[in-house]
């Protein structure tokens, strides 16, 4: 029987198992028998972090190495943080409970812009200097990867190096290089020089950025020979064969995605012009169905989970979907396991599948038309027609479904007020489809939910040059839609304009924003993705004190000739392709998907996937 100082605070916080580690399949190692200690940092709460697929892959692939101990490090919720700060307790890792300030690496995953404040707060809580330039040989290297790393300039000052693209292979090269460097006894900076030579590694301090008088970027130039002019993202060439974990950590408490997740493919053939994921994960690479079934079996039996789901962008595009789902159902029905389906394109196949999966409950179905008119859907290259939606919902309503969710964006390029009110018209049409079905053939209590998010232009998309709608415009559009929805059976949810605005600033921000983030954290900003913590006024104060106008990043349309803060990053898809797509968008012309016809985006340079099917 024993207790520690940490126990005294754990008894006072909500959900203490967020902080204790020790879950099933967590890796416990002897810290004296490893050469590298890696803190895998997710800058959000345990329940969010533990739902993320990337951490499962990288955690287990690192821990397969005998020389490396990878542990999880998450943002403590505010109750825990307060108690830690009162007692001068530093940020610790879940597996060993050790403070992370003495680790070799702290690796942050960048899933959304609104987690940036938590990165700074976690470094502060770890007593690791927030600015990379202030770190010495005593401190860990702070690295970062994930979708936001493609333009991570706003946090460039905090991070020693970024890992661009898929990390399951490059992370081993980083560790190998680190061990070589550690044994050599060379300077801290020397390691960064060695790392910069690894494909996909971007060391921001090796690039000098200069600005024009109007605030735009004048140049981005490497300041050392070891840093390439442009850094190309890494991808896994053999996605079917690459390491995939066969066991996963099973949290004690419930997390957001509390189940086995099977990643069926990476990338997306669709080419929606607003979608960064659709471009940066190119080219599409599938995992073979038999490999997925093998993984499903391993993961289910090693975790004991009673639920499994499929994960990818646009899962309907998986070429082996019928084989996969039918074999999976054979396993799940026998073992009393739930198969939870992602949003699928609604047709007879998926409807039958849904009926087989959900024998009793008929949960809601989600459509994402994204825009209210065909013209605007052509602008964004969202390949779904009104006819598709009407026919799909007819199938659904006849099949007994009554919950339909429709997702849209407002503030899209070229959008007019008519496009916005057409969202309401589309929802009304869906409703009338329901009433066309004879009473005895449809279920009761139709429920249609319309949700709008605010379009945020992202780097590495066809819309990276666009002006973002101002907050006032977003609200105006939401008001138009509210006024256009007449039926009481249609519910309308909309996304807050303030967070969309801030997201827009960081999405296309540059290095000058690091100071703002640092200041905002000093003022108390954290957990900005959480309504109860987001404090817009503090953020505006931080911008003001740093002399930076956030509108500079959102409120102007950029010229194609402007040097963008992320121009030294290469995701494979070329800038000339994005320009072509941008122009087609303004002409409301669509582009065929990768399987119909190659659009020549540039991703074929990776010599794999759909480009070579």
């Amino acid at each position: 029987m024993y207790y520690t100082e940490r126990d005294k605070i754990l008894m006072q916080v909500q959900k203490p198992t967020r902080y204790t580690g020790g879950e099933l399949n967590a890796c416990m190692k002897d810290k004296d028998k490893v050469s590298v200690r890696f803190g895998f940092c997710f800058p959000d709460l345990y329940e969010i972090a533990m739902s993320h697929l990337g951490i499962k892959i990288l955690y287990h692939t690192l821990n397969e190495r005998a020389d490396t101990y990878c542990e999880r490090v998450f943002a403590p919720w505010t109750d825990m943080e307060q108690l830690m700060r009162e007692r001068n307790m530093k940020l610790f890792a879940l597996e060993s409970g050790d403070e992370v300030g003495s680790f070799d690496f702290l690796g942050f995953t960048l899933q959304y812009e609104l987690s940036y404040s938590n990165i700074v707060n976690m470094l502060d809580l770890a007593e690791v200097p927030v600015y990379a330039a202030d770190r010495t040989k005593e401190h860990p290297f702070v690295c970062a990867g994930g979708p936001c790393a493609y333009n991570a300039e706003p946090i460039a000052d905090f991070i020693d190096f970024f890992m661009l693209g898929e990390g399951e292979e490059s992370i081993h090269e980083v560790i190998d290089t680190y061990i070589k460097w550690k044994n050599s006894g060379a300077s801290r900076e020397e390691f960064l020089h060695m790392a910069a030579k690894i494909p996909g590694i971007y060391v921001p301090s090796f690039y000098d950025v200069s600005y024009n008088d109007d605030g735009t970027v004048a140049s981005i130039k490497p300041n050392t020979e070891d840093a390439p002019e442009t850094v190309r993202k890494r991808i896994v060439t053999d996605f079917s064969g690459v390491f995939a974990p066969e066991k996963i950590i099973v949290p004690f408490g419930e997390v957001v995605h509390d189940r086995v997740i099977l990643e069926v493919f990476r990338g997306c053939i669709r080419g929606c012009r607003f979608c960064q994921a659709g471009y940066v994960y190119r080219p599409v690479r599938e995992r073979k169905a038999d490999r997925l079934l093998y993984l499903a079996d391993k993961l289910l039996s090693s975790s004991g989970y009673d639920e499994i789901s499929l994960s990818s962008l646009s899962t309907s595009d998986y070429t082996q979907l019928p084989e996969l789902t039918s074999s999976l159902l054979d396993i799940t029905e026998q073992k009393k396991i739930n198969l939870s389906l992602p949003s699928l394109r609604i047709d007879n196949f998926s409807l039958e599948l849904m009926q087989r999966v959900q024998k009793v409950r008929k949960s809601g179905i989600t459509f994402a038309p994204e825009a209210g008119t065909q013209r605007l859907r052509d602008v964004i290259n969202k390949n779904i027609t009104e006819e598709n939606i009407i026919e799909s919902t007819r199938l659904l309503f006849s099949g007994g479904y009554t919950n339909v969710k429709l997702y849209f964006m407002v503030g899209l390029p070229t959008e007019t007020n008519e496009d916005v009110s057409a969202i309401a018209a589309l929802a009304e049409k869906v409703l009338s489809v329901y009433f066309e079905i004879p009473k005895e053939e449809r279920a009761k209590n139709i429920n249609i939910t319309v949700s709008t998010s605010n379009f945020v232009p992202k780097p590495f998309t066809a819309f990276q040059w666009e002006k973002q709608a101002t907050r006032a415009e977003m609200i105006e559009k939401q008001d138009i839609l509210k006024a256009s929805i007449k039926s009481k059976r249609i519910r309308y949810n909309w996304h807050d304009d303030k967070t969309s605005y801030l997201e827009g600033v960081f999405a296309r921000g540059d290095r000058r924003l690091s100071a703002v983030i640092k200041r905002a954290v000093e003022l108390g900003c954290k957990f900005d993705g959480w309504n109860e913590h987001f404090n817009f006024e503090l953020w505006m104060q931080a911008f003001d004190e740093c002399g930076i106008d956030p509108d500079f990043y959102t409120a102007r349309r950029r010229d194609y000739s402007e040097i963008l803060p992320w121009d030294h990053i290469d995701v494979g898809v070329t800038k000339s392709f994005f320009i072509k797509e941008s122009e087609k968008a303004h002409r409301a012309e669509t582009t065929a998907n990768c399987r119909e016809k190659c659009a020549g985006c540039g991703a074929a340079a990776f010599k794999t996937g759909v480009c070579y099917e």
Binding site: M1, P16, T17, L24, S303
Partner: protein, 218 residues
């Protein structure tokens, strides 16, 4: 298929797992173990499983019980070993017993032994236990379903001893009522002790349930 009584322990590594999380965790462990649960009949079948006395968050234990239905594909020893291999470190099945009839009834548990480490506040002293035990009544406010009511806990303290006092931490041994009739928590006893002896003030409690006791087991 039969009902089985499982005796198990939990240590510091998993002491913050809540009762509901433990049930989910145990379901998964059985699923991993290859032992087959007996499922309830009905619309939404669930494994047949009853935990005798849920453990509070933060409390470790040397002897908990549950009753579980399994198919009889394995011996008691095999069930024990299989589930132990599937549980997260910190939970351990000590023994598995196949019920023949109603020879063990976990609803009859009426006492439990506890060890409590109480960290004293600065300047405080260990409790004068004799004074506590000499009291005819110790009335505390007890939360019930119909609100907070005064309750005399003295009759439910069957034993109370100071085992050790070192470095500002006093270790007490307690035997308390535990079960469906009356359930007395060690922390309630400690606050009653603080009420009785104003020199006794604690800043932190670490609680271990040594064992649950069935009538006649003392």
């Amino acid at each position: 298929m039969s009902k089985y009584i499982l005796k198990y322990t939990r240590d510091e590594r998993v002491k913050y797992v809540s009762h509901l999380d433990f049930i989910r965790l145990f379901h998964r462990a059985v699923r991993r173990s290859g032992v087959d649960f007996l499922f309830s009949e009905g619309f939404n079948p669930h494994p047949v499983m009853t935990v005798a006395m849920p453990l509070s968050v933060g409390v470790t234990s040397g002897g908990e019980y549950m009753k579980v239905g399994f198919t009889d594909s394995f011996t008691e020893e095999e069930i024990k070993n299989r589930i132990n291999c599937a549980l997260p470190p910190g939970y351990h099945i000590e023994s598995v017993y196949r019920l023949k009839g109603k020879e063990i009834d976990l609803t009859k548990i009426n006492k439990a032994d506890y060890t409590v480490m109480a960290e004293l506040k600065k300047g405080a002293a260990p409790c004068d236990i004799d004074r506590v035990l000499a009291s005819d009544s110790l009335v505390v406010m007890k939360k019930t379903k119909s609100g907070t009511k005064p309750s005399d806990i003295r009759p439910y303290i069957y034993a109370l001893d100071e085992e050790q006092y070192a470095d500002g931490v006093v270790t007490y041994k307690m035997r308390l009522a535990c079960g469906n009739d009356y359930n007395l928590k060690p922390e309630t006893v400690i606050s009653a002790m603080e009420e009785t002896d104003s020199g006794f003030r604690t800043s932190f409690l670490c609680i271990h349930r040594d064992r649950l006791i069935l009538p006649g087991e003392e």
